[in-house]
Symmetry: C2
Subunit: 272 residues, 2 copies
C-alpha cells in the first residue's frame, strides 16, 4: 500500500528542526527558468506560519520580497510572530540558504475573521466555463507550468505563438492544480503568481524578467475556499506601468461561484 | 532671522542615536483620530532608509504593517539593509515605542533605475484642473487633513455631508501639501495614504476603521518627482472587496503632466 502525496504538498513540505527553524527543499516539479517558481516559494513561506502552533486566524495579507536567487537544494525558514493582538497577528518570515544567506523575506498579517457588512465592488468577469475551453500546451514552458491545468481566454504567452495585432498586458485564464487538489490558502497563494511576466504579454516575446516583490490580499476565509473544492478558478492579470527597469502586475482570482478570493500586486524586474 | 521648517519635514525628522537607531517623535500637526496619520508614519519609516549612508538607489516598493497603535510621543526606528545586490537593496524597518514594543514594521525594496522600454497601460484620467475646483473644508476632520489642500471631484467624505444616491467606493481629488512643498519620495508616500477609508465613502458615514497593511509601488524616479514641483497631484482610490472585517483599497497618484507616479494597495480593518 502506498500513500500518494500531491506534488504541491511535497513542494511546500517543511520539517521542524531542533533550533525552531523549518527545513525545506526546492522541488524540481515546480522549477522555473532558474530556481523555483515564485508562487511555490510564497506558499512555502506561508506554510511556515500555518504550521506554527502560536498562529491565530487566517492570512489576510502576505508580502514576499525576493531578495536574491534561490538555488536548487535545501533551505531553512524562520517564522516569528512579531506582534500578537486580540484578533490580529503580524509575522516576519525569512528563507535562508547555504551559510545563513538571506534569499527571501516576507511579512504576513493573520486575523480572526468576523461577520461584517459585505460588498464586492468589481463585477464578476463572466467568461466561457473552463471545461469548454482547450487546455494550453505548456510543453515548452518551465516545469511549474505543467503543475497547472491552464485554460486561457487571452494573453497567456507561454509558447511564443501568440500574435495579437494590438497586444495589451492582460491575461485571463481558468487555472486548476494538476492533478486537481482542494483549494486552500497555500495553493491560492501560489496561483496568484501563476501568470507570466506582463512584459511577455505586452511585447509578445520572452525577456529577462523576475518578480522582486509580491503582495497578496486574501478576501476568502477557509470555508469559502473549501466550497470551491478542486474546480478551476478564474485568474485575471494586468499591468499599469512599465519603465525604468520594472513593471507592476495586479491580479484577481475568482471562484467559479463569482466570489473574489484574492487580489495580488507585484513588481517585476525586466530588460526590454 | 528664522529658518522655517515645513511641517512635513518636521514630522519626518529623525536623529541618529549612538546605538545606530533613529529617534523621532509623533507630531500633532499630522494627528489622526487616534495617534498619527498612517501616511506620515509610512514616510518617517522610509526616511530612516533614505538617511542611511549605506542606501543605494531609489525606493521602488514599500510595505508597512501597522502592527499596533502608535501613541503620541517619541519612538525609535531601526532600519537594516538585509540584502544588497548590484542594483537592488532590500530593507527591514521597525518602529518601537516604550520598552521596545514593536508598533510598526516595514520592508522596502530600493533599486538603481536604468532606461528600458516604457509604457503606461492606464489612460490618464482627465479631470478639471485643480485650481478650477474648490478646496474642501476639512475643519471638522482630523488634524492631518488640514496639512493638505484637497480639491475633490468625488467621494471625499470627510465632513459627513456627502449624500450620493448610488454611492460607490471611489474617490478622486487633487492633493497638494499645505503649505506647498516640492514633491519627493517622502511626501508621495504620505499622499498615497491621504484617502479616507473606503467604507466611509461606500456607506456614506463614519465607522471604526484603520489601515493594517499598506504597500506602495513607486513608478517615478527623483527627476520625475522634481519636475512636478509643488503642484497638485491627482489621486484616485477605489476598493474591490469589503467583508469579514476588512476591505482593500487601491490608489493611483498621477502628476499633472499625465505621469503615473505611484500605485498603492492596502487592507483596512473596519466595523460596519
Amino acid at each position: 500500500m502506498s500513500i500518494t502525496v500531491h506534488p504541491f504538498d511535497q513542494a511546500v513540505k517543511l520539517d521542524l528542526q531542533a533550533d525552531g527553524a523549518w527545513r525545506g527543499h526546492t522541488d524540481p516539479a515546480y522549477g522555473n527558468m532558474v530556481g523555483p517558481f515564485g508562487g511555490i516559494t510564497s506558499a512555502v513561506l506561508l506554510n511556515a506560519i500555518l504550521k506554527d502552533p502560536a498562529r491565530i486566524g487566517d492570512p489576510i495579507s502576505l508580502t514576499v520580497n525576493f531578495a536574491g536567487p534561490i538555488e536548487d537544494g535545501p533551505f531553512s525558514i524562520e517564522a516569528t510572530a512579531v506582534r500578537t493582538n486580540r484578533s490580529t497577528q503580524h509575522w516576519s518570515v525569512n528563507l535562508y540558504q547555504h551559510n545563513g544567506e538571506l534569499a527571501t523575506s516576507a511579512s504576513a498579517v493573520f486575523a480572526i475573521r468576523r461577520e461584517t457588512w459585505e460588498s464586492t465592488e468589481l463585477a464578476f468577469p463572466v467568461r466561457t466555463p473552463a471545461l469548454e475551453l482547450k487546455r494550453a500546451d505548456t510543453s515548452k514552458a518551465p516545469e511549474w507550468t505543467r503543475r497547472y491545468d491552464l485554460r486561457p481566454h487571452k494573453g497567456l504567452m507561454i509558447d511564443g505563438q501568440l500574435q495579437e495585432s494590438e497586444p495589451n498586458a492582460e491575461t485571463e485564464f481558468w487555472v486548476q492544480d494538476d492533478p486537481p487538489r482542494p483549494l486552500d490558502f497555500l495553493s491560492l497563494t501560489s496561483i496568484c503568481d501563476s501568470f507570466v511576466p506582463r512584459i511577455f504579454v505586452r511585447r509578445q516575446g520572452r525577456f529577462p524578467a523576475g518578480t522582486i516583490t509580491l503582495t497578496t490580499h486574501f478576501h476568502a476565509d477557509a470555508e469559502m475556499l473549501s466550497s470551491q473544492g478542486s474546480k478551476h478558478v478564474l485568474g485575471l492579470a494586468r499591468a499599469s506601468k512599465f519603465g525604468m527597469g520594472y513593471h507592476d502586475q495586479s491580479a484577481e482570482i475568482w471562484s467559479d461561484q463569482q466570489q473574489l478570493l484574492a487580489t495580488s500586486h507585484q513588481l517585476v524586474y525586466f530588460k526590454a
